[in-house]
C-alpha cells in the first residue's frame, strides 16, 4: 500500500465515521418524532377495561406523558445515553431493554441467522453452478425455481405450511419455540425440541431470502466471467474449474458483502408476518404487537437498535470493501 493511498484511506475512514454518527443522530431524532405525531394515544393502551380517568392520568404521569414534547425529547436523549430506553407500556413497567433482549432478541437472531445462512450457502452454490452452465437446463431450471420463490407472498406460504404440514400431516408443531410445559431432560433434548419448532418458520424464511441472493450471485459471477482477467486465465489454458473457483467465485463474492450488510437489519428485525403465523416470540412479533398496541417505548427501542446495527454494518461493509477490492482508491 503506497503512502498516498494510506493517507487517503485514513481520511476516507474518518469521514465515514463522522457520517455514520450524523446518520445515527438523524435516526434518533426521527425515531422520537415519528412516534410523537402518531394519532393513537398511548394512554389508550394503558387503560384496561373499566379504568377510571384518575388512574389513567396517574399512569400518564408515571410514564412522563404529561410533559411538553420538547422536555420529553431532552429526557429521551439524556436517558438514552444512560442506557435507559424507558418502560414498556404493554408489558407493564418492564424496562424496554429487558423486553427486547431478554429472550426475543436471541429467538430472532437464531431463526433469521440460520435462514439467512442457509439461503446464502444454497444461493452461492447454485448461483455459481448456474452461471457456469449458462443457459443449460440446470441454469434455466434453478433460475425459474428461485424466481418463483422470490415472487411468493410469504404470509400466504406460511399459512399453507402451517395448515398442511402442521395440522393435516402433523409433522411440525403449531406454535412456540419449545414444547410447552415439558421439562427438558438435558440441553440436547432442549436443542432438538427448539430446532423442531424452528422448522416451519425456517423453511418459509429461507425460501423468501434465497431468490434474491441467488439472482445477485448468479449475475455477479456472470459479470466476472466477462472481465479481462478471466479471458486471460482462459487464454493461459487454465482449467475451467480452476478459473471458476480460483478467480470467478472469489471476486463474485464481493457484491455479496454488501448484500449481507444490507440484510443485517433483517437479521435483527425478524420477519413480522412469519413470526406471527408461527407464534415465534421474536422481535418481529414484538414489533407487530407493539405497533398494534401503540407501545412507543418498545418500538422506539427496536428501531433504535435496528438503526444502530444497520448503520454500523454499512460502515463495516464499506471499510471491508476498501481492503477486499483492490480497485477502490480514495
Amino acid at each position: 500500500m503506497s503512502e498516498k493511498k494510506a493517507v487517503g484511506t485514513r481520511q476516507y475512514i474518518a469521514t465515514r465515521i463522522v457520517q455514520t454518527i450524523v446518520v445515527w443522530f438523524g435516526i434518533i431524532t426521527l425515531n422520537f418524532f415519528i412516534f410523537r405525531i402518531m394519532p393513537g394515544d398511548p394512554r389508550g393502551t394503558l387503560i384496561a377495561e373499566h379504568m377510571p380517568p384518575e388512574v389513567v392520568q396517574a399512569i400518564a404521569l408515571r410514564f412522563g406523558l404529561d410533559q411538553p414534547i420538547a422536555i420529553q425529547f431532552v429526557l429521551y436523549i439524556v436517558n438514552l445515553f444512560r442506557g435507559d430506553l424507558g418502560e414498556s407500556f404493554s408489558h407493564y413497567g418492564q424496562p424496554v431493554i429487558e423486553t427486547i433482549f431478554a429472550f426475543r432478541f436471541w429467538n430472532t437472531v437464531i431463526l433469521m441467522g440460520t435462514s439467512i445462512l442457509i439461503a446464502l450457502i444454497v444461493a452461492i452454490i447454485m448461483g455459481v453452478i448456474a452461471a457456469s452452465r449458462r443457459d443449460k437446463v440446470i441454469d434455466v431450471g434453478s433460475t425459474t425455481v428461485f424466481l418463483v420463490t422470490y415472487s411468493m407472498p410469504v404470509f400466504w406460504l406460511g399459512l399453507m405450511i402451517l395448515y398442511y404440514f402442521g395440522f393435516i400431516l402433523r409433522v411440525i408443531p403449531l406454535a412456540g419455540t419449545i414444547t410447552r410445559g415439558i421439562v427438558h431432560v438435558n440441553i440436547f433434548h432442549y436443542i432438538a425440541d427448539y430446532l423442531w419448532h424452528m422448522t416451519g418458520p425456517l423453511v418459509v424464511l429461507t425460501l423468501s431470502f434465497i431468490g434474491g441472493f441467488y439472482l445477485i450471485m448468479r449475475d455477479s459471477v456472470l459479470d466476472v466471467f466477462t472481465q479481462d482477467y478471466i479471458l486471460a486465465a482462459r487464454a493461459k489454458g487454465l482449467k475451467e474449474r480452476a478459473i471458476l473457483y480460483g478467480h470467478a467465485m472469489r471476486n463474485a463474492m464481493l457484491p455479496m458483502v454488501s448484500v449481507i450488510a444490507v440484510n443485517m437489519p433483517f437479521l435483527i428485525s425478524g420477519a413480522t408476518i412469519t413470526e406471527t403465523v408461527f407464534s415465534w416470540s421474536g422481535l418481529g412479533l414484538l414489533t407487530y404487537n407493539s405497533d398494534v398496541a401503540n407501545d412507543w417505548p418498545v418500538l422506539q427501542g427496536i428501531f433504535l437498535f435496528l438503526a444502530t446495527v444497520a448503520v454500523l454494518s454499512n460502515f463495516v461493509a464499506d471499510i471491508l470493501y476498501l481492503y477486499l477490492d483492490p480497485r477502490i482508491r480514495y
Partner: protein, 502 residues
C-alpha cells in the same frame, strides 16, 4: 362499537358522565348534560335502599338522551374440547375473571390432569395490583382469592370471607374471614392479612387498580375474624370493589417490598407469587406458557358455595397467536380452550369440528352499541343531524336488533334494550329504561315531522331546508366545449403562423 361489562353496573359513569370526556376516556359520545351527571352521581353514591330507584332514573335518562343505542350482547361462543363438561354458566361467559367457579367445577371425561388455555398474547403482568388486561386478571384469579364472588345471577356471595355486612348508611362494611384458609406456603390466612391488603392497595402508587375508591377508606380495624372498613361517603358498589376486585395478599411475603417492586413480576421467583387461591404458581416461560398447579390445602371444601377442591390438577396458559393456529391447536389436542369466544365464520368451524364443542346459550360480557359523537354537525346545519335528538330517536325506532344478531353474530347473541340490560344485571334493570321499540313507521313519521325530507328522490333524506341541487353536468355540453376548443385552437394557430410567415 362494543364495550365490556364488569359484573356490577358502574359503566354509566364511564360512558355517560362528563368527567370522562377525555379523548382516551370512556365517554366517546361527548354527552355533556348536567342532569345526567347528577343522576349518575346519585346512583353511584346511593345507599342499598335507594339503589334500585337511582338505577331506574339513570336508565330513563339514557333513553331520553340517547348517547348510544344498546344493540345486543354477544353470546359467549367459546370453543372447548368436547371432553370438558360442568363449566359454570354465568353472565359474562365461562372464562371470565369473575367466574372462579368454572375452574373449580370443570371436569373432563378423559383426563383431568391438565387444562391448556390458548391465549392470543402473553399475560402482561403477574402482579395482581397492576393487572392491565383481562388476560392477566384471569391468571390472578387462579392464584389469588377475593373476599367475595358472584353467583350465577351476579349477586355477591361469600368466598374467602364467610360473610359480609353493610351499615344502613352504607359507609361501613364488615367482612368476616373464614377460618382454616392457608397460603400456598402453608401459613394460615389471618384477618390481619386482609387489613394489610386493604392498606397495601390504599397506600400504593396511584396507578394501582381501583386506587381512587380505596382513598375513600378512612380507617380499618380487626376484631377476631371480622375486618371493618370505614369510608368517608356512601358508595353503591363499595362491597363489590373491596370484595371482588381486591386480591388478599400475604403480609409476610409482601410486607418488605413496595407495591410495584420488580419481584412481583419475576417468573423465576416462586415465593413472590404466594397467594391463597385454588392454584399455585409453578413455572413460566415468557411468551411461551404459564403453569399453575392445584393447591391441595385450598379452603374450597368448607365453603357451601364451592364444597370441593378443583377437579383439574394443573392449568397451563399457552401463547398461540393466530386464531387459525389456536383452532388447529385445539383440534390437534395441544390446547383445550381459548381465552376469547370465537366469532363469525369460526363459529361454524367449531360446530363442524368433531373434537370441539361450542358453548351456547350464555351472554358474554361484550356489549355492542351504536354510539353517536354528539358534537359533530354538518357545516351549515347547526343542531341537526346526529346531534338532533329526533334523529337519534328515529334511528332507535328503526333498528331491528334480531336482524343484527342474525347477520352479525350468526344468531349467537341476545338483544339489549336498556343500558343496564336484563340479561346481565337482572336486579337493577328497569323496563322504564327500555329504548324505543322497533317500528319503522314511527321512525319515518318522526323524521317527516322534523323536516328531514327526501327532496331529490334518491332514497336518502336531506337536512331540513335543503333545496334541489343543480342538475348533473351535461356531457353533450362538455363535448361541444371540447369541439369549440379544437376549432378555436386550429383557427388561432393558423392565423398566428400565417402572420409569422408573412
Amino acid at each position: 362499537m362494543s364495550h365490556g361489562y364488569s359484573p356490577f353496573p358502574d359503566h354509566p359513569y364511564d360512558r355517560m358522565h362528563s368527567d370522562n370526556i377525555v379523548y382516551y376516556g370512556g365517554n366517546p359520545y361527548v354527552l355533556n348534560n348536567a342532569t345526567v351527571d347528577a343522576l349518575i352521581e346519585d346512583y353511584l353514591s346511593a345507599s342499598p335502599a335507594e339503589l334500585a330507584e337511582a338505577a331506574r332514573l339513570v336508565q330513563v335518562a339514557a333513553k331520553y338522551n340517547i348517547p348510544y343505542i344498546p344493540l345486543f350482547l354477544s353470546d359467549d361462543t367459546h370453543a372447548i374440547r368436547s371432553e370438558w363438561t360442568n363449566y359454570t354458566i354465568k353472565p359474562g361467559g365461562i372464562f371470565t375473571t369473575f367466574n372462579p367457579q368454572t375452574v373449580v367445577f370443570m371436569t373432563s371425561s378423559v383426563d383431568n390432569s391438565l387444562f391448556v388455555m390458548a391465549y392470543s398474547s402473553d399475560i402482561g403482568e403477574m402482579n395482581p395490583l397492576f393487572w392491565r388486561s383481562e388476560r392477566s386478571h384471569w391468571y390472578n384469579m387462579l392464584v389469588y382469592d377475593t373476599l367475595l364472588s358472584f353467583d350465577n345471577e351476579s349477586n355477591l356471595i361469600p368466598w374467602l370471607a364467610e360473610d359480609y355486612a353493610i351499615s344502613a348508611d352504607g359507609t361501613q362494611i364488615n367482612f368476616t374471614l373464614r377460618t382454616g384458609a392457608q397460603w400456598h406456603d402453608g401459613l394460615p390466612v389471618r384477618p390481619e392479612d386482609v387489613e394489610f391488603s386493604i392498606n397495601y392497595y390504599k397506600n400504593g402508587p396511584s396507578d394501582v387498580n381501583d386506587w381512587p375508591t380505596f382513598q375513600h377508606i378512612t380507617s380499618t380495624s380487626v376484631d377476631g375474624q371480622v375486618i371493618t372498613i370505614n369510608m368517608d361517603q356512601t358508595m353503591a358498589f363499595a362491597p363489590h370493589i373491596f370484595g371482588t376486585q381486591m386480591y388478599v395478599l400475604p403480609e409476610h411475603v409482601r410486607d418488605d417490598a413496595p407495591q410495584n417492586d420488580a419481584r412481583w413480576d419475576d417468573p423465576t421467583n416462586g415465593t413472590a407469587h404466594t397467594g391463597s387461591g385454588p392454584y399455585e404458581f409453578d413455572s413460566r416461560d415468557p411468551d411461551e406458557f404459564t403453569l399453575v398447579t392445584k393447591f391441595a390445602n385450598w379452603w374450597g371444601p368448607t365453603n357451601p358455595y364451592v364444597g370441593q377442591l378443583p377437579n383439574i390438577d394443573a392449568f397451563r396458559i399457552d401463547v398461540v397467536i393466530g386464531q387459525d393456529a389456536r383452532i388447529l391447536a385445539m383440534r390437534a389436542g395441544d390446547a383445550d380452550s381459548e381465552r376469547y369466544e370465537v366469532f363469525g365464520a369460526y363459529v361454524n368451524v367449531v360446530l363442524n369440528a368433531p373434537e370441539l364443542t361450542l358453548v351456547t346459550g350464555l351472554a358474554s360480557q361484550w356489549d355492542y352499541v351504536l354510539g353517536f359523537h354528539l358534537n359533530v354537525t354538518e357545516p351549515g346545519f347547526p343542531g341537526l343531524g346526529i346531534s338532533d335528538f329526533r334523529v337519534r330517536k328515529a334511528m332507535s325506532h328503526a333498528i331491528d336488533r334480531a336482524q343484527l344478531v342474525n347477520i352479525g353474530r350468526l344468531g349467537h347473541g341476545r338483544e339489549t334494550h336498556s343500558i343496564i340490560p336484563e340479561t346481565f344485571y337482572a336486579s337493577l334493570y328497569h323496563p322504564d329504561g327500555d329504548f324505543w321499540e322497533h317500528n319503522t313507521t314511527i321512525a319515518n313519521n318522526i323524521l317527516d315531522a322534523a323536516g328531514y325530507l327526501d327532496v331529490d328522490g334518491d332514497g336518502v333524506r336531506e337536512y331540513p331546508g335543503v333545496v334541489l341541487p343543480p342538475p348533473p353536468p351535461n356531457l353533450i355540453l362538455i363535448g361541444i366545449a371540447g369541439a369549440v376548443a379544437l376549432i378555436i385552437g386550429i383557427v388561432i394557430s393558423y392565423f398566428i403562423f400565417r402572420m409569422r410567415k408573412g
